[in-house]
């Protein structure tokens, strides 16, 4: 058995596989399938300072090898999360990452303060949600605004801070550098790509919000290329996500430079996907005589 332990932003993970925010709720729902302790970490459902009801349905549409979603950050708010959901997760033997979202800098700051005082292991700052009218993606879309919000949040928390980046930009590497310069401890990428489907009979977009975020295997090559670019542009750890469904995908992500890998949409069709990926990754390392998973990070040999 190879060593699967990795360290991201000072936090030890027993393996590099993390369930992606928005696809795993607050963890409870998947405990029937396997103990959460098998996972390296859990990135929880995006949480805002105040409760959010989310968008009207339909919130999901199927696409070729993927899905579009426009949930719109439905969540019970950070106080409810800390009182009702977090205690249940703390003794599960996995890293707990709060995904923090908002629509104004002040909300983000209050949220970060609340999370800073909680027992979460890490904060993933979501400046890349495409499904809310204000804030979200707009914070992550330019170097200036991304740097600005990370600067504020960095003042509000000493927890390890990972910033989740949007792919809906011209140059994701420069945004990663901008948040690194403001004290981000890690970056995760990619959030979803903006997409759309139309019902040709009603001539209505399938999603009530008209557009939504594309995820699933369709986006994997896009995510991989962006992870590779970012990993070559920053010194902080990179967590790769976007369409990962198999252990081979996770190894590709790590070869491209990811220290951790998140799994999301794949769980909709196979709830065991993260566990199968951990097992497959371990067997591949053994077969290749690699004693430590850290040895493959960034080891792609580009032409």
């Amino acid at each position: 058995m190879a060593n699967l332990k990795v360290n991201i932003a000072g936090v030890d993970f027993k393996n590099p596989i993390i369930t992606a925010s928005g696809c795993f709720g607050f963890g409870r729902e998947y405990e029937d399938f396997y103990p959460l302790s098998k996972l390296g970490g859990i990135s929880l459902k995006g949480t805002t300072y105040e409760e959010r009801l989310g968008n009207p349905p339909a919130r999901i549409a199927e696409t070729a090898s993927g899905i579009l979603n426009s949930v719109g950050l439905q969540n019970p708010g950070v106080r409810h999360f800390i009182q009702e959901d977090l205690p249940y997760l703390l003794d599960k033997g996995t890293v707990i990452i709060a995904n923090a979202a908002g629509s104004a800098i002040e909300d983000y700051r209050l949220l970060a303060e609340a999370l800073d005082a909680s027992a979460v292991d890490m904060i993933e700052l979501n400046i890349s949600c495409p499904n809310v009218k204000s804030g979200g993606l707009t914070f992550g879309a330019s170097c200036e605004s991304a740097a600005g919000i990370v600067r504020e949040i960095r003042k509000a928390t000493s927890k390890p801070l990972m910033v989740k980046l949007t792919p809906n930009v011209t140059d994701i590497a420069s945004i990663a550098q901008a948040v690194e310069a403001e004290g981000a401890d890690a970056v995760s990428l990619i959030n979803t790509l903006v997409g759309m489907r139309i019902d040709i009979e009603s001539r209505r977009p399938v999603l009530h919000q008209n557009t939504g975020g594309l995820s699933g295997p369709a986006v994997f090559p896009v995510a991989l290329a962006m992870v590779w670019k970012v990993a070559n542009a920053v010194k902080i750890p990179v967590v790769g996500l976007g369409g990962v469904e198999k252990w081979q995908d996770a190894i590709e992500m790590m070869l491209a430079g990811a220290t951790g890998v998140q799994v999301g949409t794949a769980m909709f069709y196979d709830p065991y996907a993260p566990v199968k990926i951990i097992e497959g990754m371990n067997e591949w390392l053994d077969r290749n005589g690699i004693a430590d998973v850290n040895e493959i990070i960034g080891q792609v040999r580009p032409w």
């Binding site: 696809c23 349905p57 999901i60 090898s65 709830p271």
Partner: protein, 257 residues
């Protein structure tokens, strides 16, 4: 209750109306836990999303569940290619199911089109104390009427074109039935317009009513929050609950149609 996901053999598959398939799956551990009004989430070859299909009947002794579904798009079409002997990847049982009263209570089940199958297991519970009001487009689309007959309930049919049973809506028959005699509970599944009309009638006659809702679904277990339906909180304020975990069955008075 706990969720199970595994592959199970299809024992039989029959077309029972145009584009409607009747499938019996051998899945003892799933059948052992399934209740009336719950559903299963089925993986579809070549598709990212599973398809939620309501459970029509459960036979714990034989270890089977019966699924009756209509081909509506590419997903259910791909599903319909699975036949006897093939394996079906099923997650379930999911959702809350109907609240069943004592079997001697007076119950009415209302099924509209492909909303009919989930009512059968509930009708069986009440047998002769149940009135089944079933509505379809036309005679060619009538399904399961003989199954409802066989469980002893009073079956009343309606079709949109009058080619079978009452020419008109299920709500005409429901009003008639409620005028004859009161009921302890009404259960309904079908198009949203029908559910709203049934809920209004139930309120008018002061009868408890549960409706089974449908919405485009993701994970099926309450994690992704896409299958939202608007309901009223206790203080009357609107919020979104989720069909997969909080439902698919809701008290009609709670739903904001």
């Amino acid at each position: 209750m706990s969720y199970i996901q595994n592959v199970y053999p299809i024992q039989s598959r029959t077309a029972i109306a145009r584009d409607v398939f009747d499938v019996l799956v051998h899945c003892p551990e799933l059948a052992a836990q399934s209740r009336a009004g719950q559903f299963v989430h089925i993986r579809v070859p070549g598709h990212t999303l599973r398809r939620p299909i309501s459970i029509c009947e459960v036979d714990r002794a034989k270890g089977t569940i019966r699924l009756v579904y209509e081909v509506r798009g590419s997903g259910t079409e791909a599903l319909s290619n699975l036949t006897t002997g093939d394996l079906m990847d099923i997650m379930g049982p999911l959702g809350n199911g109907f609240t069943l009263l004592e079997p001697d209570a007076k119950a009415i089940v209302v099924g509209g089109g492909i909303g009919t199958p989930p009512m059968l297991e509930t009708a069986k519970h009440y047998a002769e104390n149940c009135t089944a009001i079933l509505g379809f487009r036309d005679a060619a689309h009538v399904i399961l009427d003989e199954d409802f007959d066989a469980c002893g309930c009073d079956v009343r049919l309606a079709t949109d074109d009058g080619s079978r049973g009452h020419h008109g809506f299920v709500t005409d028959l429901l009003r008639q039935r409620l005028a004859e005699e009161s009921a302890d509970i009404i259960y309904a599944c079908g198009p949203k317009g029908m559910l709203k009309a049934v809920a209004d009638l139930a309120a008018e006659f002061g009868v408890r009513c549960q409706v089974s809702l449908e919405e485009r679904m993701g994970c099926g277990v309450g994690a992704c929050l896409v299958c939202a339906c608007k309901v009223a909180r206790e203080n009357g304020d609107p919020t979104y609950k989720h069909v997969c975990k909080d439902g698919p069955v809701f008290e009609a008075k709670e739903v904001i149609f």
